[in-house]
Symmetry: C2
Subunit: 370 residues, 2 copies
């Protein structure tokens, strides 16, 4: 699914800006201002795995901004597993999407028109405009993209929310020490690939869990992991055990399911388990059959003196400055590699999103909207 564009774009700021066509307002360039906004809305709530029927493409008129508002044009839309939770009606830790509302999501957007003193037409911003081509919005929560971010879509990935998730989860909660063993699942994904590479920079042994053999090979040959096992293999648990001869000190949990089952017996005393996602369970409609092992997990936490801690990245905005400084430096130095899976066109977002749950993407999934 990667595009020719992705492979052509270089990492330097100047060429990245040129390649993504950022040279001022697109309204001004086209001569005829767009009037129609295409949106993807939540048509129905999924039962278990989402399907294309849960989404609907709609058109609406673009609303001119009132005083204090901005008109934004979406350049890139991020697609992430957490969105599955927001499609559900039940209580969650964040606002759910109402039926017939635009699907939510982080975007890199361009200011087409500003009625707010802090922004001007042409500004590139981080927004939560969701799955649509245009948004008319107050300036609340809109941030200008850090000028050190050399490629716009990186603001949704390695230098955005997923990168910060990796940074805070691994360093602040996981507290890896040199020589320790760090295990992570979804290890070539937007978050995992950053976790693993930072853990290598911190002197750890890093063992990944991924699906396709191609991803496992990439994790070792390109990302520099010491080993990577595939959860497609029936003997994944014994492969993981062999790859972790000294046990596991940090498990960065963003999957759950069979990865967690393989990890749990290998956790060392005083292991740390930052929990940032459980994608294996998001489409679960009922719990697995018994026995009830809740107390098993409690016992493991007790007897191994484990710290297991959930987090969401919106609680950690104070870490952004240090994060951008360090990770952009590592990127420039080639110490962190980053892979994107760029899908062209808003209309392809639903299908690409569904692929997240079968591991169809390879690298951070973003939609190039315009």
């Amino acid at each position: 699914m990667r595009t020719r564009r992705e492979m052509l774009v270089s990492l330097s700021a100047a060429s990245a800006l040129a390649a993504t066509g950022w040279s001022g307002s697109l309204v001004a360039m086209s001569g005829t201002p767009a009037t129609v906004n295409r949106q993807i809305v939540l048509a129905s709530r999924p039962k278990g795995k989402p399907t294309l029927d849960n989404f609907r493409l709609e058109k609406s008129a673009i609303k001119p901004p009132a005083t204090g508002e901005l008109l934004l044009k979406t350049r890139y839309l991020s697609l992430d597993p957490y969105m599955r939770g927001r499609m559900t009606a039940g209580p969650s830790y964040a606002q759910n999407v109402a039926l017939n509302d635009v699907m939510l999501g982080g975007t890199v957007s361009e200011v087409l028109e500003s009625k707010h003193p802090d922004f001007a037409a042409g500004d590139i911003v981080l927004s939560n405009s969701g799955w649509q081509e245009y948004e008319t919005t107050s300036a609340q929560g809109i941030r200008k993209l850090d000028p050190r971010i050399s490629r716009l879509s990186y603001g949704l990935g390695v230098l955005g929310m997923p990168g910060l998730t990796a940074y805070v989860g691994l360093l602040d909660i996981g507290e890896p020490k040199p020589g320790e063993t760090v295990v992570l699942a979804a290890s070539t994904g937007a978050v995992g690939s950053v976790v693993g590479q930072i853990a290598k920079l911190k002197g750890c042994r890093v063992v990944g869990i991924a699906g396709a053999k191609e991803k496992c090979e990439y994790a070792v040959s390109e990302l520099g992991y010491d080993a990577c096992v595939s959860h497609y293999d029936d003997d994944m648990a014994s492969q993981l055990k062999a790859a972790c001869p000294d046990g596991i000190d940090v498990y960065f949990e963003n999957v759950g399911g069979s990865s967690w089952e393989a990890v749990m017996p290998l956790l060392n005393t005083h292991a740390r388990v930052p929990v940032c996602g459980l994608i294996a369970h998001y489409n679960q409609t009922e719990l697995p059959p018994g026995p009830d092992r809740m107390s098993v997990l409690q016992s493991v936490i007790l007897t191994k003196r484990i710290k297991m801690q959930g987090f969401i990245i919106s609680d950690h905005a104070d870490r952004i400055p240090e994060f951008v400084t360090n990770v952009s430096t590592w990127l420039q130095q080639g110490k962190i590699k980053y892979k994107e899976d760029v899908v062209n066109g808003l209309e392809n977002a639903p299908d690409a999103f569904l692929g997240l749950f079968s591991g169809a993407n390879f690298g951070k999934l973003v939609v190039k909207v315009s």
Copy 2:
């Protein structure tokens, strides 16, 4: 089960020392040195709840100390829930008791004879002599009782391992803030009563969970908790909910079972759960029937961004000096009250120990051995 002795003993150091008869070597006082050691050994491993058959009283000769060794006479033996785990053959986080070996346990002992330069006859020490009247041992792990500990048995309780467990678990892992709600189970026990009273000193709302009504009343009227609910009541969960109108910020877990089930839905975002024991599960021979809710616990940790952390107190010896200073001051000032359940005679230890699992004790359970 409390003794007249307990009620007579005052808190001041001088009278406590007098009342407990500490005025030199008992061997010297009696005139005829004892030659027989009575011991309680592990006769068989329990299946589920332990029974008296699992223990056997034996006699052996007292061995004179070799160079570098000490001969200790047990004054007080601590009985604690963790001992149940050591009676099991399976792997645990600490050494298990071998069949026909003396049951392990912390003691306050008196040095009868010393062949080690750091100790002299008459010294009162903290030891792990186990369920026996005498022990001949190397000096490894033997510590002189802090002279600020006014009553010998307190070295096994409020100023010993259980008190340190409460101190470290609540303050270092639970991190309570003024105005937060702290919930604890086994709330009049050796650990719980200290947790709750320190939480009150830190400005928290404190809600206890206990069994007998007498204990619940004591928790409120004597220990100063804001409320205490009984796990004997069928509607304990709704009582707990009513007692925690602002949810739960810290749950000090030393029980599991129905207490945890009632607490889990009430946990607030960013709640902390120090896990120091799971007594409700120690006698479990098989897991409860399904569905398997392990992933439910993982989801709660994720969505509420909870920190759940197991600990055992032997990892935290560095906290002893601050702990003894603060807690002994609070005891002297009457800010912490402490209740003991003193059983007389080593031969009564097994029965008293079994009572721990039905809540028969009221206060910290210790055996006055001599």
